[in-house]
């Protein structure tokens, strides 16, 4: 187990370091400030000597530390430049905002500030730094600086004896702010401890301020509750205002509670809590009009006091509409993500994670890091399972059902000659090699969409190596498993072995290669004239996977037959065979639908290309083969399936020997086949489709594919009519619109719209 932990702890998802220096505009941890006066150190005035010496230098001559590069100096902040120097004061400007914290505010103003803070909080969740959002509030600044050690030090009015006569409105605001900052601290810690991209996804930098970590969680919660009680008994406020403030305080207490509890992976009522929080939002939303903004309580000047290596930046304003939408989605996503904790089988787990991440818009960083936490925390998968358990489950459910290689009893055998001992030892080698790569897939899918694709481009090389390593182990293991090869002179003169471990690795490598192409469609990576080639490539990969799955199925069926003949083993392990066979069968079906659809689209684009309906942008600095080389770079190092050479691909795609009408007819047949496939898949139960826990999303996904499929068949028949009408003439009157990825029925299927008659 330890070995895994180490392996997995060293997982590198990216090619670069986690916080590449070039982007470290926010130094995470500034060094402690030097003491201005310390024993034995004196400061000597050298103004005159320095100035004289500098004047001797030639124009443009530099005296510099040889290790200091001009490249670095580009990042230096220019002092006294208002755009760069956050500490620069305009003539007559003061450092501090003159804001009277002792002044009691109207309830309307409290609502205004609270709602404004909520917008800032969501802006932070969306990826803006605290310095441009929550930290621009003078009230928050007052709470955090100097850093309080108890609730008594958190009064806005710092003059003495204010605690006893704090106006109710200020107490409401204070309690709310305390709850807000503490909630942010939980969120920040969660995000920081998982894999995310600083500044790209989220900014965890707190500018050397503590987010009230040393104030007891319970005492803040208590203050929120007491304030709510106090408010409910007051007579001084109108009913609507009172109600609006009450629901805000309650919301804050709820959010704080959830943020603290959300980390728990044991069964809790956390799902209900998220749903309750979601239910609390309409009340707040409908009472925002009661608020009165207090713009003077927010200021960019606070950035002057924050440890920051970046120039001053403006306050980020997110509309209330956008903020509430984001928060609602966050609650909804978070209430769904908890369901991952219910484990059914390894394939369902992966389906869950994939489908959860394809939710639109993608779940926010906090929810995604919660998902990572649920999955991987402490190397205990979902809080209950060892990595080995999940990996063995997956091997059993794909290539090795009820197989002796996965028998835990093998671990107990210590006799070195015993085949069981040898099997256990080699499986252990395999697991230590594969566990990291396998979990990497899950971890990768938890990243933002662009990063998923980018990371997959790197990890497929790792899977290629894994496949080779596994092949060696497969060969060694044969000696101990006494595997009987298939001898079939019709296929090959050599005996055919099952290669279970490398088959498994190959399967996942192919899936990831398909995802790379599919995410390319989703992310609008390809130009319109590249779609024909990329859909051809997708069908090539999917077809390869389908054939590979058929090979796996062949061996499964054969060993199942042997298994059933043996009365000792038959019975309880039957289910393992059933689920592996079901998974392989359904996967074959799914890959067939994928390659059928991709083939149809590729052919459709070929025909549209022949009709000169696909625009190709001007590219003065490249040619097709160079571009192809760059485009296919992630695949060029992969041994199997081999990368198709550009000349071959051009032949395969343009199909010069086929007539246009033949190609369009083939596309029509192909898309019909795919349509039947998707229809079949859409009717499967959660268990059959290996999507337990996410069946609804699964069905929706398949139905979206189906819609795209139907739309494609309509386009194909439109084009067919055009081709028939045009006869030998290659010019047709029609216009083609290629929708952006998110505009279609499914992000992975870019279906052109053909409008006849216009040109």
């Amino acid at each position: 187990m330890l070995k895994y932990s180490k392996d997995v702890a060293n997982l590198v998802l990216d090619d670069g370091p986690r916080n590449p220096n070039a982007f470290a505009a926010y130094d995470s941890e500034p060094p402690p400030p030097p003491k201005l006066k310390s024993r034995g150190v004196i400061a000597m005035d050298i103004t005159e000597q320095f100035t004289n010496a500098a004047q001797q230098l030639d124009m443009g001559q530099l005296i510099k530390d040889p290790y200091f590069t001009l490249f670095e100096s580009v990042g230096a902040l220019e002092i006294m430049d208002r755009k760069m120097d956050s500490g620069y004061l305009e003539p007559g400007e003061t450092m501090e905002d003159e804001y009277d914290f002792s002044e009691a505010l109207l309830p309307e103003e409290i609502i205004g500030i609270i709602d404004h803070l909520l917008c800032h909080e969501m802006a932070w969740h969306m990826g803006h730094p605290l310095s441009q959002t929550i930290f621009t509030s003078l009230y928050i600044d007052r709470l955090l600086s100097p850093c309080p050690t108890s609730l008594d030090q958190t009064y806005f009015d710092k003059s003495e004896s204010c605690s006893s006569d704090e106006p109710l409105t200020l107490q409401i605001l204070r309690a709310y702010c305390l709850g807000l900052v503490r909630t942010c601290s939980y969120v920040n810690n969660r995000v920081k401890s998982e894999h995310y991209y600083e500044e790209e996804d989220f900014v965890t930098h707190t500018f050397n301020r503590s987010l009230l970590e040393n104030i007891d969680h319970e005492s803040i919660l208590k203050l929120l509750e007491e304030t709510e009680e106090l408010l409910s008994s007051t007579q001084e406020m109108g009913y609507d205002l009172k109600k609006a403030l009450m629901c805000r305080l309650r919301f804050r207490a709820q959010f704080l509670k959830i943020a603290e509890m959300a980390d728990a992976r044991t069964p809790t009522n956390i799902k209900d809590l998220w749903t309750d929080l979601l239910a609390a939002l309409p009340d707040i939303r409908s009472s925002t009009h009661l608020g009165r903004a207090v713009p003077s309580s927010f200021s960019t000047k606070i950035q002057r006091k924050l440890a920051s290596t970046v120039p001053p930046r403006p306050i980020v304003e997110v509309s209330q509409e956008a903020a509430f939408d984001h928060l609602e989605r966050l609650c909804r996503d978070a209430s769904v993500v908890v369901e991952v904790l219910k484990y059914y089988d390894s394939h369902s787990l992966m389906t869950f994670v994939i489908l959860f991440q394809t939710r639109k818009p993608q779940p926010s960083v906090y929810v995604r890091t919660l998902l990572q936490h649920y999955l991987f925390c402490d190397m205990v998968i979902l809080g209950t399972m060892s990595i080995r358990q999940v990996l063995d489950d997956d091997l059993a459910a794909t290539v090795l059902p009820a197989h002796k290689l996965l028998d835990r009893g093998n671990d107990e055998i210590e006799v070195p000659h015993d085949p069981r001992h040898n099997m256990a030892a080699r499986m252990e080698i395999f697991r230590s090699r594969a566990a990291g790569s396998y979990l990497d897939i899950l971890r990768t899918i938890c990243q933002n969409r662009c990063r998923i694709r980018r990371t997959l481009c790197h990890t497929i090389a790792d899977w290629d190596n894994l496949q080779l390593d596994a092949e060696e182990l497969d060969q060694e293991l044969r000696e101990f498993t006494r595997e009987e090869p298939i001898i079939d002179p019709e296929i090959s003169n050599d005996p055919i072995y099952s290669f279970p471990l490398s088959s498994w690795a190959y399967f996942y490598k192919l899936r990831q290669m398909e995802w790379i192409v599919q995410l390319g469609f989703e992310l609008d990576t390809y130009q319109p004239d590249e779609l024909v080639g990329m859909y051809w490539y997708l069908q090539y990969l999917a077809k390869t996977r389908s054939r590979h799955l058929e090979r796996i199925r062949g061996f499964l069926v054969r060993s199942y037959a042997a298994f059933r003949r043996n009365p000792e083993t038959a019975g309880q392990k039957q289910a393992e065979y059933a689920s592996a066979l079901s998974f392989v069968n359904i996967s074959i079906m799914e890959s067939a639908a994928t390659y059928g659809f991709a083939d149809a689209l590729s052919c459709l684009y070929t025909v549209l290309g022949r009709l000169s309906l696909i625009p190709s942008p001007p590219r003065p600095y490249s040619d097709d083969s160079m571009r192809y080389e760059v485009r296919m770079k992630p695949f060029s190092a992969i041994g199997l399936p081999e990368l198709i050479q550009f000349e071959d691909l051009t032949q395969l795609v343009t199909q010069p020997n086929e007539s246009t009408i033949d190609i369009i007819n083939f596309a029509a047949d192909s898309v019909m086949g795919a349509k039947k496939g998707f229809e079949f898949l859409s009717k499967l139960s959660a268990k059959e489709a290996n999507c337990q826990g996410s069946h609804d999303s699964w069905v929706k996904n398949i139905k979206d594919c189906l819609k795209a499929c139907i739309f494609t068949s309509i386009t194909i028949s439109t084009v067919k009519k055009l081709v028939l009408a045009a006869g030998k003439d290659t010019q047709v009157k029609a216009k083609v619109e290629i929708p952006a990825a998110e505009k279609g029925y499914h992000d992975w299927w870019i279906v052109p719209k053909v409008i006849p008659g216009s040109s």
């Binding site: 130094d27 500034p30 060094p31 400030p33 030097p34 201005l36 006066k37 034995g40 150190v41 004196i42 400061a43 000597m44 005035d45 050298i46 103004t47 005159e48 000597q49 320095f50 100035t51 004289n52 010496a53 500098a54 004047q55 001797q56 230098l57 030639d58 124009m59 443009g60 001559q61 530099l62 005296i63 510099k64 530390d65 200091f68 670095e72 100096s73 990042g75 230096a76 902040l77 220019e78 002092i79 006294m80 430049d81 120097d85 500490g87 620069y88 004061l89 003061t94 450092m95 501090e96 050397n208 002057r304 006091k305 924050l306 440890a307 920051s308 290596t309």
Partner: protein, 121 residues
């Protein structure tokens, strides 16, 4: 001062801790990395120190225009802020100080060379 002497002197200061006071009375403390003929100075690992807005609450120390010692007493109360790598344009520099170990300065005084000696040239 000869040009080569000037270059040697400035080079000898590289990577020492400088305190640069700007015309707006802020002080920047950081490691000296680079300068040019316009006296633009690049400091790394820089902290910004700022005089608190007058009047200083709860402080009994006199105003900062008095003796050197008093001024430092006030400075200690300042909040500092990390800014990292900065370039201070020469035109805004009102004062440059270098931090030295007392022992080193004393040693130099005995040998008869050093900062004081160059002043004569």
């Amino acid at each position: 001062m000869e040009k080569s002497q000037a270059e040697d002197y400035l080079t000898s200061l590289l990577n020492k801790t400088l305190r640069i006071t700007t015309t707006d009375t802020r002080m920047f403390l950081g490691q000296f990395k680079c300068t040019d003929s316009d006296r633009n100075i690049i400091l790394s690992q820089t902290f910004e120190y700022r005089l608190p807005p007058a009047p200083i609450p709860t402080s009994t120390s006199p105003s900062s225009n008095e003796t050197e010692n008093d001024k430092e007493t006030v400075t200690l109360d300042l909040t500092s802020r990390y800014m990292g790598l900065v370039v201070v344009p020469g035109e805004f520099i009102s004062r440059i100080e270098v931090e030295e170990f007392e022992s080193q300065v004393r040693g130099r005084a005995v040998g008869g060379v050093g900062v004081g000696g160059e002043k004569v040239v």
